[in-house]
């Protein structure tokens, strides 16, 4: 009777672990899924760097457009 019970118990355990293990494996997987995590690491400082760099590039682009306009006026005057 006891032997029967233990075998039943081990079967149950195996079944349960078979059920749970893939779940836990999946949970680990979802952590390990390769995403573009670089920008989210280090407290998301990379986002700040991106923002500042974007603003900087915007200002530079603006300078180039002003320069283009001035060049046009300079050529018109000649």
């Amino acid at each position: 009777m006891l032997k029967h019970f233990t075998s039943y118990f081990t079967k149950l355990l195996v079944c349960l672990s078979a059920l749970i293990f893939p779940l836990s494996a999946m949970a680990q997987d979802s952590n390990a899924v390769a995403m573009a995590d670089k920008l989210r690491s280090d407290g998301k400082i990379y986002v700040v760097v991106t923002v500042i760099f974007t603003i900087f590039l915007g200002i530079i682009l603006y300078l180039f457009t002003i320069e283009k306009k001035i060049k046009k006026i300079e050529q018109n005057q000649k």
């Binding site: 400082i45 990379y46 700040v48 760097v49 500042i52 760099f53 900087f56 530079i60 300078l63 002003i66 320069e67 001035i70 006026i73 300079e74 005057q77």
Partner: protein, 229 residues
């Protein structure tokens, strides 16, 4: 002035400043913490301001020598961008001070001295605006420019160093000088980059003014030629 290579250099240097300056490891210091990275952004404003004022001074002297109004325009625009940089340096410095010294303004000798020298250059702009006659304006402001420069230098460079200051490196505060070996390359990159950006903005303003005042410049220089003959 119209070449493109130094503008690209400027973009490269400032890109390095922003990306490397924000991401590279820095020395961990009390009080300063991560704000030590402001060294790449706040301090180059002041360095840039002084360099731009130096260029402005050179053109003021060239104007006094040649009486060519073109140089007056150069001098004015470089001074204006210098004032812009100085104002940004002042504001960023106050923001930084709020979170390291506790107050936006704590009458620190360097704060006071740089505020004074900024006021002197504000007065330069006010002086320019108050003289309607262009020749007089140019001459008076060129002479004033020379005086302003040689008041600014001791105010910023010498006086604050003679007294205790809250600034890093002064009066026993943790400074950059002795430990900045790893920060130095980025810092110099930042200074050159921001200075080039200042020159860029100034040259755009100069080219605009040269076009806008073309008539004035040509008649003035014709008169000057007659005068010389």
């Amino acid at each position: 002035m119209r070449k493109v290579w130094w503008k690209i250099l400027c973009i490269l240097l400032l890109s390095v400043t922003i990306i490397v300056g924000l991401l590279m490891p820095v020395p961990a210091l009390n009080i300063l913490n991560e704000t030590i990275r402001n060294l790449y952004f706040h301090v180059p404003m002041w360095f840039g301001m002084m360099l731009l004022f130096t260029v402005s001074l050179v053109y003021a002297i060239r104007f006094l020598k040649t009486q060519d109004l073109k140089f007056d325009i150069y001098s004015e625009q470089f001074a204006k961008v210098g004032v812009l940089f100085g104002s940004l340096g002042m504001v960023t410095g106050m923001e930084w001070a709020r979170f390291t010294w506790g107050e936006f303004w704590s009458n620190d000798p360097k704060q006071l001295a740089s505020a004074l020298s900024l006021l002197i250059y504000f007065a330069y702009l006010a002086l320019r605006g108050s003289v309607p006659d262009y020749d007089k304006k140019a001459k008076i402001s060129a002479v004033y420019n020379v005086f302003a420069y040689f008041i600014m230098i001791p105010l910023i460079m010498i006086l604050p160093r003679l007294t205790a200051s809250l600034h890093p490196g002064n009066g026993g505060n943790p400074g950059f000088g002795d430990l900045a070996a790893e920060m130095r390359p980025v810092f110099y990159t930042a200074v050159i980059g921001w200075f080039l950006l200042g020159i860029w903005i100034a040259t755009l303003a100069i080219r605009f003014q040269l076009v806008a005042r073309k008539h004035l410049l040509s008649t003035h220089n014709v008169e000057m030629d007659v005068f010389k003959k």
